[in-house]
Subunit: 365 residues, 2 copies
């Protein structure tokens, strides 16, 4: 199953709004066929594996799939039917269909045909492959993930805002991997002003540029836009400015003159209405967005539970400065149980740094 | 070597001021002899393994030791001599002698006799076995370790001081393991007032009570001492109050009347002079002390680099309260490089919680 998971990852970030899926066929003790889902509209993973399988199935033949096969005839035909037709009698499945209305249906259909099905093998890893899809397919909403980097004592920046670099190159390279996964990225104008980031995913293999959103409520800093990478590089057509409905008409005109794509979003009591923004993302079929935030915006997103998922990168260093930029408002807690909770937490270490990631429990805080 | 490490750990916390060491002999492909160092004054691990070895060494015979054998004749005779006498021709060593003046000498002596020596096998784990001893033997100073528990955003307690419980039972049980390792523990009177802890190490096997120090600079709360566990339980003779030289004579008399062991320590600009306290610990042959601190005392210890080692237990929850108790003073940093750095960092996860531990880099901050 681990090999099937790695196969699925061959299409890392390329399958939206479909899931990543890997499949392989073991016959007489050897892997003789492999398949993965390449992109939306292409064959499903198990179909690719079955196509490459030229033997006559026997008692030793096992089909592995990271995700429960679909039972509905979509663009590519139901996978359960193809499996049944193949004559394979043993199927091993990682994760169930994330849609509660479909979960288990593919398995039942196979079992009804007398096929032996084992499921839940490396289930957690198989499910983790599709953080974005699992959310999108159930809620039809954009999966929003917040990433912050901090010192071990919780500082996101020194007291003057300086934040380069808290984490090591290895940890920052992991951030690049997540940027490659998400179809869109969001930062605030403050981050653009401070760091002038490219917001691309750069690896030894290639450069990928996600759809880039810059939150600029009242359209500040427009005069300097041309010096910023996101508005002037070769991917500038992938940059969208997100501004509030209260931005001045003059600024809106100035922005228009710059020929930069822009979204006008409703305002709430706290600035731009993020739910309205996420809804617009969903309308435009963006299944996931990776938000890289500083202390202020990060706090807002967490406090109002506007994000579904959190990535916290930490370095084993302590700034020991109460005035440093940290998450938090002055809400006067009196019990640890007032904390925002996470669930489905996954830890990863990068030499001395580490990452804690997981879902934000919506009922907490 | 992993088996030898586990053997060494049979004496977890029982070997002070000696190291934990494990040893085994593999003969004709099987482990046929095991030994570990039980306590100061007992045989060294490799001597115990050699004693239990009744075969004639041949080409297949390998002696594993987690720590380089001693080359000086102490109470128990030099281990290098015993190894040479045994006729064993192949020795595998984990960590070198931590004393730079001795490191490698045991290996040289063996090699001079034609014995083949492999060293550095699971070196990091073998060295990590003896955090306390490695420090003590080189510096002749008490190894001081600070433990804090915090939320992912760096809160050690809610804004009213409430801190039960940040971490899970699994993480707290790991704290018990470290309490079992250190011969002494230190907390402030504030912690006693707030939580009335027992400061014992409780496991399914047994209860262990380390030497317990309570920092009470001006001897407050004496009236309530008899209701606190550390001053009234069956281990009360293991509790020592540490007070400052400026404590009132009246309070000192009151303390005397309570018949509680006490140390009078010099004062510095910041309260009790911790270096003076640590010196006194060293004089009394206490090789290591585990300090469980809240935000204020923890900050003091870190800021002044009074501790050698840091344990940070973290839970994946965010209090998001800027007024919560966190580490830090208002020192107005302007660069991340002003952080206190850690080195030799080790990560461990406990389901959703995790521990980051490592040495405080003395030249940083």
């Amino acid at each position: 199953m681990q090999i099937a998971i790695d196969l699925a990852k061959s299409a890392w970030g390329k399958t939206h709004n479909n899931p990543m899926v890997g499949s392989l066929i073991v016959h007489q003790g050897a892997i003789i066929s492999k398949g993965f889902h390449e992109k939306s509209g292409s064959h499903h993973a198990e179909i690719n594996a079955l196509k490459a399988f030229n033997e006559t199935p026997d008692d030793t033949t096992l089909l592995y799939i990271t995700l429960e096969p679909c039972s509905t005839t979509g663009r590519t035909g139901a996978c359960t039917e193809a499996i049944i037709r193949s004559g394979i009698q043993k199927v091993v499945i990682g994760a169930l269909d994330p849609n509660p209305n479909h979960a288990g249906r593919g398995i039942s259909l196979l079992e009804e045909e007398g096929i032996s099905v084992t499921f839940g093998v490396l289930e957690e890893q198989c499910r983790d492959l599709n953080l974005i899809f699992n959310h999108w397919i159930v809620h039809k909403k954009t999966f929003s993930a917040l990433k912050v980097a901090m010192t071990l004592d919780g500082s996101l920046a020194a007291s003057n805002g300086q934040s380069k670099w808290i984490t090591s190159e290895e940890a920052r390279s992991d951030v690049m991997t997540w940027r490659r996964l998400f179809p869109a990225i969001l930062v605030t104008q403050k981050t653009i002003d401070q760091d002038n980031p490219r917001l691309t995913s750069r690896s030894s293999e290639a450069v990928f540029c996600p759809r880039r959103f810059v939150l600029n409520r009242s359209l500040k800093s427009l005069d300097q836009y041309m010096k910023y990478s996101v508005f002037s590089d070769e991917y500038k057509h992938k940059t969208t400015v997100v501004y509030g409905e209260l931005a001045s008409e003059e600024a809106v005109q100035k922005l228009k003159a710059l020929e930069i794509d822009a979204w006008r979003i409703k305002e709430s009591d706290h600035g731009i209405d993020m739910n309205d923004f996420f809804n617009r993302c969903a309308e435009e079929n963006l299944c996931g967005i990776f938000i890289e935030a500083g202390a202020q915006f990060g706090t807002h997103l967490l406090e109002k539970k506007l994000v579904d998922y959190l990535y916290v990168y930490q370095a084993p260093k302590l700034l020991l400065d109460s005035d440093a930029r940290a998450l938090g408002t002055c809400r006067k807690t009196s019990h640890i149980d007032e904390s925002l909770q996470m669930e489905g937490v996954i830890h990863k270490t990068f030499k001395e740094d580490h990452l804690v990631r997981g879902f934000i429990k919506k009922e907490s805080l």
